[in-house]
Symmetry: C2
Subunit: 405 residues, 2 copies
C-alpha cells in the first residue's frame, strides 16, 4: 500500500540470523540513507536483533563516524550482533510495546525469510491498532533461497569464497593426486555448493562432481561416480552439500547423526562437524580402495572470512539497505527485491519493493535447469546466472598438462 | 664451496611436498633468472617432482609465455605437480642416472627439509664421481619450520589466511555467542596456529586461547581455560593446532586415531578429518554444559586458496627462486636463507646461501619466547616477528561495544 506523509519519528534497525560477508554493507546502506531524511530522528541499532529490542539494548547509529562505517561495511558478520530467536506472537507484542514506548515508526530488519516474517507480524500488529509503522525487510542469506529477488546479498561473496576454495583445492589435487571431498554449507538449497564450479577454467578442472540437496543420490551411485572420474583422470574433486540426501529424501547427515542438535527454527545443526565428510571419505576408501582420500568441511569461513567481498555483492547489499529507507518513505511495509536487467557483460539489477508476505517463511530451491541430467553437476545456465554475482574470479595457471620433452 | 666456471648444461627444477600459495612464485623466480644465463641451456620442469625425474616426465619451461608465467606465479599449489616420495639412496641413484643421461648439471628443488635432503644426497653422489652438479634447495613450507632462514616462503600467506579466518570467525562469534574451536594445520610446529592471533584489534578480540604443539595441555586445563574466558566475555574463540598434545607429550589426535594413516615420511595423517575438532567441542559441551559450541577444521584451504597471497610472501618466494639460480653460478650446492635486516616499518630481508646439510632433515619449533607463560596464547614478540610476513592485515569494524542509548 502506497502511503504518504512519512512520520517524523525514530527508527530501529537489526541484523538477524546467520552472518554474511556483506550484511554490514546493508546496515551501512540503511544508516547512510536514513541520515538523508529528517523524518528519521534517531536511528537505533538493536544489539543482537529482536533480543536487543525487547531488552532495549540500543546504540545510536547516527553518531558513528564515516570512517568507522566504512570499516563496518567492509567487515564480515553482523556488527550489531545477531540472534536466532524466532519471535512468536507474544514476543512480537513485546517488540511492539518497545516501539510505541520509544516512538519507533520505522523498522528495518536485515535477514532471511524468518526475519521477513517477524517484520510482517509486527507490521500487521501495528496496522490493527492504526499505529503508523513502516516495516521493511532487507534480504540476506548465503543460501540464496529467498523468493522474488533474483538473488540474495551475501550469496555472491560466499559463492566467491567457495569458488576460490575449489580452484585452489583442485590445483592442490592436481599436485598430489587422489580423491578430495569438500562439504559445503546449504541445508536445503544447493546454490552455494553449485558455486564450487564457477572457477573452472580447463576441461579437466574440478570439481568433477557436484551434489546438491535438491537431487538425492544413493551411496552406490556416489561411489560409482567417483570411480568413473578417478579412472579417467587419476584424481577426483567432489563438492557435496551438507544437506545432500539419499534417494529416499533423507539427508545423509541425518542418517549419521545420533544426537542431532536442533535449533530454535527446527533446523538440524549440520555445520561445525566433520562427520559427513569423514563418512563420505571412508566410503570411498573402503569401496574403491583408493589410498589418498581427503575430505574438508568448509564451515563458518564460507560466511565470515575477513578481507574477502565480491565487489558486486557488497555494492548490491549496500544499495538494498538504501532502497529499504527509500521505500519506507512511500510505503508502509515491504521487502527489497533485485530484478535482473541483463546478463553477462550487461549484468545489472533494479530494485523493487515486494510484499513481506511474498518473502516471509518461504524458500526456493536450485532450479532443475541448473542441475545436469545425471544430478551430479551444474549446467551452463547456472554458471551464467551465478558468475556475475562474484564480480569476476581470478585466473589460475597450471603447467603439468604441457607436452613432455 | 665457492666454485668457478659454471658449466653450460641443462637444468631440472621440481616442486616437492605439500603445496603452498607461493611455491609457484619461487618456480617462476627460478625460470626467469635461469633465462638470464646462457650457462643454463634447457630448463626442464620435473612433473610430480622426483617421480617425474626418474620417469623422465619433463616439460620445457623456457617456452612458457610471460603471461602464463605470471598466472602461475599468482596461483596456489605446485604447477609442476608434486610428490610425497622420499628418495632413498637407490632412488637418488636413478635420479642421478637421468641427470647424466640428459646432461643436467643444475638441480633446483623447491620444498621442505626432506627436499633439502634429497638435493644433498644427489649432490654428494655427484661429488663422489666428480660430476659437476649444482644442487640447490629453495625453501617452502606453511609450517615455517626450516632451520637457518628467518622464515619460510609459504608461511606468510598461510598466516594471512588463518589470521583473516580468525578475524571473521571472531566477529561471527560476537554476533552469535558461544564457544568456537578452530583446528589449524601444523603437526609439530605452532607457527601457523600462532598466526591466528595476528589480526586482533580490540582488547576482547579472539582468539582468546591459542594452543600449539610445543606446549602440552591437559583436557582439564583446556576446559578450564575455556570456562574462564566464557564466564568473562560470554563467548570464547579457541585456535588449536592439529598437533596439540597432552601433558604426556602424546598428541590428542593420536589418542583419538584408531587407524592412524601414516605417510611415506612417517608423519601421521591428521588433516582432512574433523575428529579432533568434534572431540574438543564434545568435551566443552559435556563438561561445561554450554549450548552453542562449534568447531571447524580449516584443512587444505590454508595452503591452497585461489586469489589470496601475502604481497611480502609472494615477493620473497620469487626472490628465493631467483637467488637459487644466482648462487648456482658461484657455488656447487646450497639452500636459500632469508636473514631479517629490520623489524616493523623497517622490515626487510637479505638472501644468503647456506649449506644443504644445515637444512636437510631438521626442523625448528615455535620458540618459547613466542608462547605466553600459561602456554595458552602467543606473546607480543611473536606478533612482531610474524605480522610483517602478511604484508599487513585488513582492519575490521564492530559496533556492539558502543554505549547503549
Amino acid at each position: 500500500m502506497n502511503v504518504s506523509n512519512a512520520p517524523r519519528a525514530n527508527a530501529v534497525i537489526g541484523q538477524s540470523g546467520g552472518p554474511t560477508a556483506v550484511i554490514n554493507a546493508s546496515l551501512v546502506g540503511v544508516i547512510e540513507q536514513a541520515c538523508q531524511y529528517a523524518e528519521i530522528r534517531n536511528l537505533y541499532g538493536a544489539v543482537h536483533a529482536v533480543n536487543g529490542i525487547v531488552n532495549e539494548q540500543f546504540i545510536d547509529l547516527k553518531t558513528v563516524s564515516r570512517g568507522e562505517l566504512e570499516l563496518v561495511a567492509s567487515s564480515p558478520s553482523s556488527a550489531l550482533g545477531s540472534s536466532r530467536d524466532k519471535p512468536d506472537q507474544a514476543y512480537c507484542e513485546r517488540i511492539f510495546e518497545v516501539f510505541k514506548k520509544r516512538d519507533v515508526r520505522y523498522f528495518f530488519y536485515i535477514g532471511g525469510n524468518d526475519s521477513a516474517n517477524t517484520a510482517h507480524i509486527i507490521n500487521e500488529m501495528a496496522a490493527r491498532v492504526g499505529y503508523d509503522l513502516r516495516s521493511f525487510h532487507v534480504p540476506k542469506t548465503i543460501d540464496n533461497d529467498l523468493l522474488v529477488t533474483d538473488h540474495c546479498p551475501g550469496y555472491g561473496t560466499a559463492a566467491t569464497f567457495v569458488a576460490n576454495a575449489l580452484m585452489g583445492d583442485d590445483l592442490d589435487n592436481r599436485a598430489l593426486s587422489g580423491v578430495k571431498i569438500d562439504v559445503i554449507m546449504g541445508r536445503h538449497a544447493g546454490f552455494l555448493t553449485a558455486a564450487s564450479a564457477l572457477g573452472r577454467q580447463r576441461d579437466d578442472d574440478g570439481p568433477h562432481l557436484v551434489y546438491v540437496p535438491e537431487h538425492g543420490v544413493s551411496m552406490d551411485q556416489f561411489v560409482s561416480d567417483v570411480e568413473a572420474v578417478y579412472r579417467r583422470l587419476g584424481r577426483c574433486v567432489v563438492a557435496v552439500s551438507e544437506g545432500i540426501a539419499d534417494t529416499d529424501g533423507e539427508t545423509w547427515a541425518k542418517k549419521l547423526a545420533d544426537n542431532a542438535e536442533v535449533d530454535a527454527h527446527g533446523n538440524i545443526q549440520l555445520s561445525g562437524t566433520g562427520a559427513l565428510a569423514d563418512f563420505l571419505s571412508g566410503q570411498v576408501k573402503e569401496k574403491l580402495g583408493i589410498g589418498r582420500v581427503r575430505a574438508d568441511t568448509f564451515g563458518y569461513l564460507q560466511r565470515s572470512f575477513a578481507g574477502l567481498q565480491s565487489r558486486v555483492d557488497a555494492s548490491e547489499a549496500r544499495e538494498c539497505g538504501r532502497q529499504a529507507v527509500e521505500f519506507s518513505m512511500q510505503y508502509e511495509s515491504g521487502s527489497v527485491a533485485m530484478i535482473r536487467t541483463g546478463d553477462g557483460a550487461d549484468y545489472g539489477v533494479r530494485y523493487e519493493r515486494t510484499d513481506l508476505s511474498s518473502v516471509a517463511e518461504k524458500t526456493k530451491s536450485l532450479p532443475r535447469a541448473f542441475i545436469n541430467a545425471q544430478g551430479n553437476h551444474v549446467t551452463d545456465a547456472f554458471i551464467q546466472y551465478a558468475l556475475p554475482l562474484t564480480g569476476g574470479l581470478v585466473k589460475t595457471g597450471y603447467l603439468g598438462n604441457r607436452p613432455r620433452v
